[in-house]
């Protein structure tokens, strides 16, 4: 019985070690070039406000 409790305790400690470990991975990169084609309405207008990468161009986990 004592051994069972000890094993459960050790399992708990081991798994909690895994839970505490923060894991983050960023993959890919993104480069955006803004030029005259990004004007809202050609000459006399300003640039588009927001630029977004394509889906999954940058990943995280």
């Amino acid at each position: 019985m004592k051994n069972t409790v000890l094993i459960l305790l050790l399992l708990l400690i081991s798994s909690s070690g895994i839970c505490w470990a923060a894991a983050i991975v960023v993959s890919g990169s993104w480069a955006e070039t803004i030029d005259a084609s990004d004007l809202q309405a050609g000459a006399g207008s300003d640039l588009i406000d927001t630029y977004e990468s394509t889906a999954n161009e940058v990943g995280s986990g």
């Binding site: 895994i18 983050i24 955006e32 006399g44």
Partner: protein
Amino acid sequence: MNTKRNLTKVLLLAAFLPLCITSHIFSAATDNHTVTVTLTVINEVAITGGNVTLTINTAVAGGEPIDEVDNSTCDLDWTTNEASKKITVVSSLSAAAQNFTLLVVAQNVTGGTAASEVTVDDSAADFVTGISTTTGGCDLQYTGQALMSDGTGSDVHTITYTLTAA
């Protein structure tokens, strides 16, 4: 018997302890990558409204023809992300090649300062100055002038506006 139990405990501890340690070793709390945003030089200028025709066909008896003015047909718009810019105007016709006089001036200017009214010829003249990292626009006011001594005919100009360094 107690020794055997203790040994079991130690072995169990020894078996699970590396799990705890390795989980910390192989996990990263941070990661990074590059995100690059590049803004290129943008200098755009555009005429809207199409072509302009000025027909001088009125005069008071005893006087010269009355100037023909158009300030509602065309606009000029510009966008630049560079400093110290201006817009110049030039005609395809030299002064000597013109039968009549054509003047142009920017009106209701935003994003710059109107230059004085210009008699257009094939030498570039300042049209709007003081343009810097901005969007802007103006109405184009053209004035055709002629004298009775000029006779009749047409001058067909190609007018070019250029956003350039001041």
